[in-house]
């Protein structure tokens, strides 16, 4: 794929530009100063608000900004419903309320022991090897196994799930064929799982959704499959990225590493700060009605990249926004979104990240980046390390 390089971020940005993928923060800082709502003609027209207040305004405005498309792609595919993330009011609320009880802090607490066991077994594999790739050997495996268990899927199919994620969220931005292949394969896979549970209900999320009703009616097939696909994808990619980013920072900051190794109780506070500073998820919205925000007109049919990561680096909202302050007391970060689409898995993600750090520190308090290896980052909607080789 070849796109012309970016000369001017204000008027021609490209979120797949290698510089944006490698280190977007200085680019966003520049935009916030010079052009707080940037625009590009690429991808058929996309806006990029970089200030917290503007991101918040778009997130709250479901009248002018629709969630029916949440990923910026070169060629808009046919609608791919994944309720509730792709739902607008009034359909959004019942679709979300159906899922919420399974993701409250109390409900998630019941999966914590399992998550700790998963982390322990992963660490067993490399603890005596003097090093590992944290992104590959640890971060990517934890959420994949936990969410597979919640859904009632085998916990050793992570490679299959991550292939779909790669095709839907990365390749699929520019290659419609990869997107359609992953959608059709995953739909077929979920269909078979649904059929099993129609015959014999089980105690898992797929079974729960298969037998759930909204206003007395079972979910339409498209809704059911879309929700399952959403839970699987959003449950893996995001937390994998978040866990990796925590370790990327800690591998380079001995003082933070030592504090957390010595004080497991500080971990939850530090997790909030890592979520702020390295928020993985950028959503998108489709402009559906003319509207002006902060002096900038938005044209219907174009997209908005809703960058919670950029909002969370806004110095107007966060003192020392570019510094990672692991004991930051006031932290109204928007890593899990703002408004009605608040991430349904936020409590699950927090638990997994906290457990991943605590279990690691209990076994491997000292580690550093492998100077001979390169850290690589994902591209597109979710940002996190995909290769993170460390030595210990």
């Amino acid at each position: 794929m070849s796109r012309p390089p970016v000369d001017d971020w204000n008027t021609d940005f490209d979120h797949l530009d290698p510089r944006w993928i490698e280190n977007p923060y200085p680019i966003w800082d520049g935009l916030r100063e010079q052009c707080p709502i940037a625009h590009t003609a690429r991808y058929r027209g996309v806006y990029f608000p970089s200030r917290y207040e503007d991101v918040r305004a778009v997130a709250y405005d479901t009248e002018h900004f629709s969630s029916r498309r949440i990923i910026v792609r070169e060629t808009p595919p046919p609608r791919i419903p994944a309720p509730p993330i792709t739902s607008d009011p009034p359909e959004h609320r019942p679709a979300k309320n159906l899922l919420l009880p399974a993701f409250t802090p109390d409900a998630i607490k019941r999966h914590e022991a399992h998550a700790r066991e998963i982390c322990g077994k992963l660490i067993d594999r490399f603890a005596d090897k003097g090093g590992c790739d944290i992104a590959v050997d640890y971060a990517q495996e934890i959420p994949a196994r936990v969410i597979a268990h919640m859904l009632g899927l085998p916990d050793d199919e992570g490679d299959r799930f991550r292939q779909w994620i790669h095709e839907i969220l990365e390749l699929g931005i520019t290659e419609p064929a990869a997107l359609m292949k992953a959608l059709s394969e995953s739909s077929k896979y979920f269909q078979a799982e649904i059929e099993k549970r129609r015959a014999q209900p089980t105690d898992d999320l797929i079974s729960y959704l298969t037998h759930a009703t909204i206003d007395g009616a079972p979910l339409a097939e498209e809704h059911l499959i879309g929700s399952i696909r959403l839970i699987l994808i959003a449950g893996i990619d995001t937390t994998w990225s978040a866990i990796g980013a925590c370790f990327w920072h800690l591998a380079q900051h001995p003082e933070d590493r030592q504090r957390l190794a010595a004080d497991a109780a500080l971990v939850p506070t530090a997790v909030e700060e890592f979520l702020r500073a390295f928020s993985p998820v950028t959503m998108a919205r489709e402009v559906i009605k003319d509207v002006t925000i902060n002096g900038c007109p938005f044209k219907p049919g174009e997209m908005v990249l809703l960058s919670f990561p950029a909002a969370n680096r806004d110095p107007a909202m966060f003192p020392d926004a570019d510094r990672v302050v692991i004991d930051r007391k006031e932290n109204r970060h928007a890593a899990f979104g703002l408004g009605i689409h608040r991430c349904i898995g936020s409590n699950l993600a927090r638990m997994e990240i906290t457990v991943a750090l605590q279990e690691w520190f209990a076994r491997i308090p000292e580690f550093r980046l492998d100077p001979a290896a390169k850290v690589t980052w994902s591209e597109g909607t979710v940002r996190g390390p995909r290769r993170l080789p460390v030595l210990f």
């Binding site: 707080p36 003609a41 200030r51 802090p105 109204r332 899990f336």
Partner: protein, 103 residues
């Protein structure tokens, strides 16, 4: 003119965060100790989206319903020892759904 730069200076969005919660709460706790005021918390249920920060930071003052959305416990009266926590919860709510009142 292809830029869509904002044409007016952006109104600053500083939701109560302009006053550091830690400063406010130390003062409030002092006054509360001297018996001059009653501190109460209240969750705006329309604003709350279930981030659950308040229940994590001040479980003595906030609880979550079956969907994970927050409400204050009882009538929201904050014991003197928990005034700090009340302001901490407020300062960490991304939806600005928590009100702390002093009467």
């Amino acid at each position: 003119m292809s830029s869509v730069r904002s044409r007016s200076p952006a109104p600053r969005f500083l939701p109560d965060a302009a006053t550091p919660a830690t400063t406010v709460c130390v003062e409030a706790a002092r006054r509360s100790r001297e018996g001059h005021l009653t501190v109460r918390v209240k969750v705006d249920r329309d604003r709350c989206q279930g981030h659950a920060r308040c229940a994590a930071l001040a479980p003595e003052l906030f609880k979550l319903d079956e969907l994970g959305n927050a409400e204050e416990i009882g009538d929201g009266t904050v014991p003197e020892a928990l005034v700090d926590k009340a302001y901490l919860a407020k300062a960490n709510c991304p939806e600005l759904a928590i009100e702390v009142t002093e009467t």
